[in-house]
Amino acid sequence: MNTDFGRVTLVVLFAIVPIVGIALGMRAPALRSKIPLLVAFFAGLIPIFSMYIPKRFLSGDSGMSPRLDQWLIIVAGFALLLGLTNVISNSYRKISRRDKGWPYAIVLLAGLFIMGGFGIYGAISRQGTGFLPNGSPTPFRWVETTVFQPLQATIFALLAFFMASAAFRAFRARNTEATILLVAGAIVMTGRVPLLEFLAAPFPALHPAAAAASQFMGKATEWIMDTPNGAAQSGIIIGAALGAASMGIRVILGIERGYLGLGKGE
């Protein structure tokens, strides 16, 4: 049995203390928020210390910080079941009440149970979700490539259409700011592709000029992306990082606790 210092500390902090806390919380409602916040405080300190302290018990391959990370990946895995039960109960309610569009809830559940069933079968049979030893795909994999991936890629591809319609509407010179947006956008769109060469294609006399202009637009695009855009991005990143770090401090100290459904006083 592995009883390293780091390992035992983790278990004490994140299993023993919570269990004691739950027992106490059953009687004293005030502790139902205080002890979770205290435990969270320790969870937040571990990676910060690990950043600066390379000691093995803390930052080694199975030290406290990487080990807690491994734990929490598992916790997140458990959470999916919560979403799953919510979807099943909502769909079931829709069907039993014959709500508008209820047949589609059947389609949804059918897709879910078929695909989920293949996945569970893969886990139990140790067949996995990839290919069988003979090279043919598992049923899970087959549905993945013929249903899941095409739909995913197609919804993603809708963006090409929405980019065009959004550009048509938003890129209007209504005021100074909109004009700046428009000009920058138009230059970059021209500079990204050999558009000028394409337009000059029917006129051989213009080919050198078009090539040079295209080159120039490419350079201009690069400069815009690099300098003014790079500067604005840096500014946003610095500001946002400070905002995030400050919020992080508040969360770790338990000042910001709304995400747990806790008000100020609780």
Binding site: M51, Y52, I53, P54, K55, R56, S59, G60, G63, A76, A79, L80, L81, L82, G83, L84, N86, V87, N90, F148, L151, Q152, I155, F156, L158, L159, F162, M163, S165, A166, R169, A170, F171, L181, A232, Q233, G235, I236, I237, I238, G239, A240, L242, G243, A244, A245, S246, M247, G248, I249, R250, V251, I255, E256, G258, Y259, L260, G261, G263, K264
Partner: protein, 397 residues
């Protein structure tokens, strides 16, 4: 045949040193080379690491004859035999032995080794005099010295935020400038109430490990209190299950805080699916079918931002977006009525609640920005005057 990396490296060097197609001379073997010795050979525990590594440094001899390599050898007790460990290209002048084990003591030997020529293939080339290090053993360390600057910066920042919060708690009034996107929140919910339509709140697609999601939860709390006050319907579809859990808690406690648990329904916050685009398709379809009057897109979004915002735009809803990461901001700016940009997302909870603690930490962020501007300008002046050391102060590893 199994080639080791070291023999490959030797081979590589050999191939580089010998012109292609050179014919092996059939005459006498070459005269023994007089190879020089490296200097300043030191072996220490590699500082600032988690153990299991020894750092070797030395100075290459000059001139170093063409086609030579440096050979590192190691002995570990109880055996006193040195065994070849690695050959290093000239000019590197350092080697990390990452195969050392904590608690063992090693000695290292370093020497220049002549390249093997084709006529003496398989025979070790000439070697120069060897330097031997003091015994050394690796161990894990308490501090990474190369991160001193970021440690100091972090401590300063924490101190700044905490003292600003303390100052704000003591009653010092704090001004906050107008943020249009946040003023619009109540307006949008008011319109939904008038029209008798619902408010759709999309909290991004990331989990609770992303701080923008937590900021979004703070804004959701405010939105939910407003819909509770006005008796407007609220709908929060989720992609991430942990965010779903947290959104439920947030909305529930907002309705309790407003004294309207009667208006709260569990299914206001519901789960859709874990896939980014399946979620996007479902939420977009929901927008076109239910036509909410107000749409909030606040949190961390990826490519789906434009699909959601453009679909929402086509339904005629008032749209308010917010994201701290810059990548999706252009699309929100192009399609939404109001967009919270970057740090504005984090300022939202302070702005909306006017709580002294939050206003104080926002004040602390402003002071930090001011300090960064000052450091930046001092830095620019000093590097312009030729002081290159300044860069080392802010460089992180």
């Amino acid at each position: 045949m199994r080639l080791t990396a070291s023999s490959l490296a030797v081979l590589t060097l050999l191939l580089g040193a010998v012109p292609a197609g050179a014919v092996a001379p059939v005459t006498t073997p070459p005269p023994p080379l007089e190879l020089p010795a490296p200097t300043a050979f030191v072996a220490v525990d590699r500082p600032g690491d988690g153990g299991s590594a020894i750092l070797l440094t030395w100075t290459d001899p000059t001139p170093l004859p063409e086609g030579t390599v440096l050979e590192v050898r190691r002995s570990e007790p109880p055996a006193d035999e040195f065994a070849a460990l690695q050959t290093v290209k000239p000019g590197t002048q350092r080697y990390v032995d990452a195969s050392a084990e904590d608690g063992k003591t090693y000695r290292y030997e370093l020497r220049v080794r002549g390249a093997e020529t084709p006529d003496s293939l398989g025979i070790a080339g000439a070697v120069g005099p060897a330097l031997v290090s003091d015994p050394v053993s690796p161990h894990d360390n308490w501090f990474r010295p190369e991160r001193t600057n970021s440690l100091i910066a972090s401590i300063l920042f924490i101190a700044l935020i905490l003292s600003s919060i303390a100052a704000a708690r003591s009653g010092k009034p704090i001004f906050i400038r107008r943020i249009a996107g946040l003023n619009a929140i109540d307006e949008a919910i008011g319109r939904a109430t008038e029209l008798g339509k619902k408010v759709l709140y999309v909290p991004g697609i990331q989990s609770m490990d992303e701080i923008q999601t937590i900021a979004s939860m703070a804004i959701l709390g405010h939105v939910a209190r407003a819909t509770a006050r006005y008796g407007t319907d609220l709908d929060v579809p989720n992609r991430d299950p942990l965010t779903f859990v947290s959104a439920r808690e947030t909305v529930h406690s907002a309705y309790l805080a407003e004294g309207r648990p009667d208006l709260h329904r569990e299914d206001m916050v519901h789960y859709v699916t874990y896939d980014q685009f399946a979620y996007t398709a479902a939420v977009s379809a929901q927008m076109t079918r239910e036509r909410p009057a107000a749409i909030f897109l606040v949190g961390y979004f990826f490519a789906e931002s434009l699909i959601l915002a453009e679909t929402g735009q086509s339904t005629g809803a008032i749209q308010i977006a917010g994201q701290a990461d810059p990548t999706q901001l252009p699309f929100f700016v192009a399609t939404c009525d109001y967009t919270l940009i970057g740090e504005e997302l984090y300022a939202a909870s302070a702005y909306l609640s006017r709580e002294p603690v939050l206003l104080g930490s926002m004040r602390g962020q402003d002071i930090a920005k001011g300090l960064l501007l000052v450091i930046g300008i001092i830095g620019i002046i000093s590097v312009s005057l030729g002081a290159t050391w300044f860069m080392d102060l802010v460089k992180t590893q």
